[in-house]
């Protein structure tokens, strides 16, 4: 809550730090990687989260309860711990590379650590609950009789899914995607642990500016850039939710 007032203080510095950011190809690369990864992560989360939310909404109370637990338990576990789990899985000789090696699918042992693939998988796991719960809220409000009507009039299941459910759940998908995008653009625990120091994103670059190079002005400039980017994405979000709740 204090943050907004603090942010304006930070903006009071000279523009030199912003110039530093823009003129340095390295940081532009960081920015580009942040945007690119966030878009990919959001897309995957939406592609997986929408059918998942639909299955949850239309399944019986018992199986829905189990699905909710599957979503909630990781959501309520610290991101640090979940990232640790992925580190063990992706490690050289870990489950993925070990299994593929044993099956003879890859020639030598490899590691997924310090790759963008690792970041994407880890982040999708983090963001899927947010996406699914946003869409679930919308789907449960869709009148099921609309689907039934479409089906009695000769639509196949997939047709009614495509022409009835999908358009009606668009608000949920859009809200969930914007939320996922802002969260993934600003997260740094998962990217910095799975991506390592060479695959920096904006948030991890801010963190190293604060803790390692101790260049607070530059860190603030980067934070302002991140904030502006996120504010721009959030404007349509507020339009969608009518500004009622986050």
């Amino acid at each position: 809550m204090l943050a907004l007032s603090i942010m304006s203080e930070e903006g009071g510095f000279t523009l030199a730090h912003f110039a530093e950011f823009v003129s340095e190809p390295y940081y532009l690369g960081v920015l580009w990687r942040t945007i690119r990864l966030s878009v990919i992560i959001t897309l995957i989360a939406a592609l997986v989260g929408f059918p998942l939310a639909y299955v949850m909404a239309r399944s019986g109370p018992r199986s829905r309860l189990w699905l909710i637990i599957v979503i909630l338990l990781p959501l309520m576990t610290s991101v640090v711990i979940r990232t640790f789990g992925w580190m063990v899985i992706f490690e050289r000789g870990g489950i993925i590379s070990g299994t593929l090696y044993d099956l003879g699918l890859v020639k030598r042992n490899f590691t997924l650590m310090r790759t963008e693939t690792a970041i994407v998988i880890g982040m999708v796991q983090v963001l899927l609950p947010f996406m699914t719960l946003s869409i679930l809220g919308v789907i449960t409000r869709i009148d099921q009789r609309l689907e039934e009507a479409a089906r009695t009039m000769g639509c196949s299941f997939l047709q009614s899914f495509r022409h009835v459910v999908l358009p009606l759940s668009m608000p949920g998908i859009a809200a969930g995607s914007l939320l996922a995008f802002t969260l993934s653009a600003s997260s740094f625990v998962t990217p910095s642990l799975l991506g390592g120091p060479r695959l920096q994103v904006l948030a991890s670059s801010i963190y190293s500016s604060v803790t390692q190079t101790l260049d607070w002005h530059f860190a603030a400039a980067q934070a302002v850039i991140l904030f502006l980017g996120i504010a721009l994405t959030l404007i349509p979000y507020f339009r969608l939710t009518g500004g009622q709740h986050g």
């Binding site: 063990v88 299941f157 803790t211």
Partner: protein
């Protein structure tokens, strides 16, 4: 004649659900599995079985110290967040204060404002005004990011509650404070309880804010784990993490008992 759902789609559905379960739970399963390993290095599937790493954790001052700090902060944050958030929710609900809409946006803003931006703002603001970061800074920071959850859950309960009960109490001569304690607060209780669980859980697991505000003697448990992961993880990290996961499971069970998990997920 209604066309049946094709068989391949039903099969695809089960495969899809199985994949989701793997994606969501794999990291947790791996962490828990690794913690019982008898091996010197982190490996999954675990080799052998031992409780060696738990013994090591429980005799490590670094882990116990940061666990104590995390617990203390989480408990204090729960109290402050419930008091402030509950009061805010009641005030927003009644629209007695001017600019109620604005107030509600203010209290919910930490939910969408990325924690990293809030963290860096708080760090700079605190250093410029009060100097060294302390326990209090962490407390304030955690309270701010957990407030929206309390406000939301309490508001959700209040909007469903019957406003005429308070009216009735008033006609029967109950004073302002009496009405607050005997009517309004009991009405809010499920919301406050849910908010309290959220606040405790979020504060206990929070890493971003705590990483920015960390000092050598102000290291919460997630930060301690993060530090270990950056350098030399051994299975004792997995043991600590497993204890934290167990705590989360316990918390979810309690929430389910008190409120019912289905209702909880809809907020």
């Amino acid at each position: 004649m209604v066309k049946a759902i094709p068989l391949w789609l039903k099969i695809a559905n089960y495969v899809f659900i199985a994949l989701i379960v793997v994606l969501m739970l794999a990291p947790l399963v791996v962490v828990v599995g690794t913690s019982f390993s008898a091996n010197q290095f982190i490996s999954f599937p675990p080799k052998g079985f031992s409780l060696e790493w738990y013994r090591k954790v429980l005799s490590s001052n670094a882990y116990l110290g940061s666990a104590g700090l995390s617990l203390a902060i989480a408990l204090m944050v729960t109290v402050s967040s419930v008091v402030i958030g509950g009061a805010a929710a009641i005030a927003i609900h009644r629209r007695e204060l001017p600019k109620s809409e604005l107030l509600s946006a203010l209290f919910l803003s930490p939910l969408i404002l990325p924690t990293i931006i809030y963290a860096i703002g708080l760090l700079m603001f605190w250093s410029a005004t009060f100097g060294r970061v302390s326990f209090v800074t962490l407390w304030i920071g955690h309270t701010a990011i957990t407030l929206p959850y309390v406000v939301r859950t309490t508001l959700a309960v209040l909007t469903e509650s019957d406003p005429f009960i308070e009216e009735a109490a008033r006609t029967m001569g109950a004073g302002r404070l009496q009405r607050l304690f005997f009517v309004v607060l009991p009405q809010c209780r499920p919301g406050l309880a849910a908010g309290a669980f959220f606040a405790f859980n979020i504060s206990f697991d929070e890493a971003v804010l705590s990483l920015f505000l960390r000092t050598p003697d102000l290291t919460t448990l997630p930060v301690q784990i993060y530090g270990q992961l950056e350098f030399s993880p051994d299975p004792s990290v997995a043991a600590v993490s497993t204890i934290m996961i167990a705590l989360t499971v316990l918390l979810i069970l309690v929430i389910d008992r008190v409120l019912g998990i289905g209702k909880f997920a809809s907020t």
